[in-house]
Amino acid sequence: MTLAAPGRGPALGLVAPFFLAAPAGLLAAGLILTFSNGDTLLAINAPRTVAATHAAVIGWLTTAIFGAIYQLGPAVLGGRLASTRLVRIHFAVHAGAVSTFVWAIWHWEVTVMALAGLGLIASFVLFLINAVPAVGSPWRGSLPSRYLAVSLGFIVLAAGFGMTWVGALEHLWFPVTMGRLSGHAHLGLVGWLGLTVMGIAYQLIPMFNVVQRKQPVAGGRILAFTALATVGGALVLMTDPGLWTRVVVAVVMTAGPAAWGVEMLRLMLARSRRALDVQGRATFVSLGFLAVTICLGLLAAIGETASPGGEPARILLAYGIAGVGGWAGVTLIGNSYKILPFLVWYHRYRQFAGIRPVPVVADIYSEGVARATLAVHATAVVVAMAGALLGELDILRTGGALLALGAVIHLFSLVHIVLAPHAPAPKRVRPGEVIAR
């Protein structure tokens, strides 16, 4: 049971920068929340909130997903990269554009926001040139391939509407209402992030946890329903609909992820690898956050009457923290401690496997540090959500500081995985054998 056939995949040096740079986005989001002001609890479109959201979504999660797709596409899904040189250019363009974009939102410099937004569009175009042949068709291929192919369409939609809204802010074409922001956000969060998380899980959860007794039964239907519900729901939200329409949209949009969550829980409970490692633990925690996200999303759709203190911004903020930091974020942290160590194993130790004792994947990362990262991050998400729901700025800021702390631990542990020498666990070494390092 292994992760990939990296012989067909890209070099470690091509993929690792995406994983190593990604926690900087989480660090930025955590620091922005740490220094948030009273506006954060009053308006979901306050500059600091929007900056933190984009730092987390396109700085942290999207950067890591880029790396994962560049690896999984050629190595697992049978696709190919158009150009490895383009991947390097893409990394530089994306890193520059995201950091400038987040800075511009923080300072509400609309012109800089528009210019950095163009850089982001360039980043997404460069990504799609490589990702489309790497992932394959939305109509054929394995379940993960189809999910990823559909999610690529959503990155185009989310970025297209996002840039249009930035243009509207600069040139005053039309008002950027809460409904329009919400439509853009859901295209990105459910369409791009959600479908990517869901699709990758169909590949990784059965592999890592040795699931044989159960098979996914509704993956294709969940994909079709979620994709259609997200497009339709986002377009309806952009019209700033009334209460009952919002509630119906929320129910329809959450049905797909909820069904996927049940399917993943079913698979996890049927796993043959009973001893849980960090990825297994992260899967259970992230499914818990998915349930919380769905509940908060339904309450957020009701609006003022269901919001603590009658402030919709508070429940919307908690909803975003649960979905981005909890569901998607915890999943990503868990998978990072599998994908990156495996790449290191393959590129550094595989050639010696069987001839000399080499470390296995579990020897390349510290399970203790990985669990600590997961625990700090999950606690941070809960504290930040509590701060938002209670309307307590100090608690929200504490949650932000914990998010930043988790990001630093995560970053250093990933750097250690890539750079440090590793040794096999003593039980795998026979007396007198020469160890490959």
Partner: protein, 100 residues
């Protein structure tokens, strides 16, 4: 060269994700030794496991390193499909399926 010797060699091929050797996992379906020539039939934990070719390469490396003469051939088969019950007691303990 005896079948048992080849089996011992194959115990050095460790699944990098599970940390368990392929013999203990029950992934080796057959070992045929004809003088110095060795034929292996093996599987992966699922037909979709994309590491099949790489595992075959690891087995070939181990055999080439361990056998001085003769030829080796490694065939990947999926009938019967691997089942966790094919793993030995130590592997099941490592997976957490039975107590240590």
């Amino acid at each position: 060269m005896k079948t048992k010797d080849v089996e011992q060699m194959l115990r050095r091929v460790i699944d990098p994700e599970l940390g368990i050797d392929i013999v203990s996992l029950g992934l080796v379906y057959g070992i045929e030794v004809d003088n110095e020539d060795v034929r292996i039939a093996m599987t992966t934990t699922s037909p979709q496991c994309p590491m099949g070719e790489a595992l075959v390469g690891m087995v070939e490396s181990v055999l080439e390193y361990g056998l001085r003469d003769g030829t080796t051939s490694v065939e990947l088969v999926f009938d019967p499909p691997w089942d966790v019950r094919m793993a030995d007691r130590a592997a099941l303990q490592e997976l957490g399926l039975i107590p240590r």
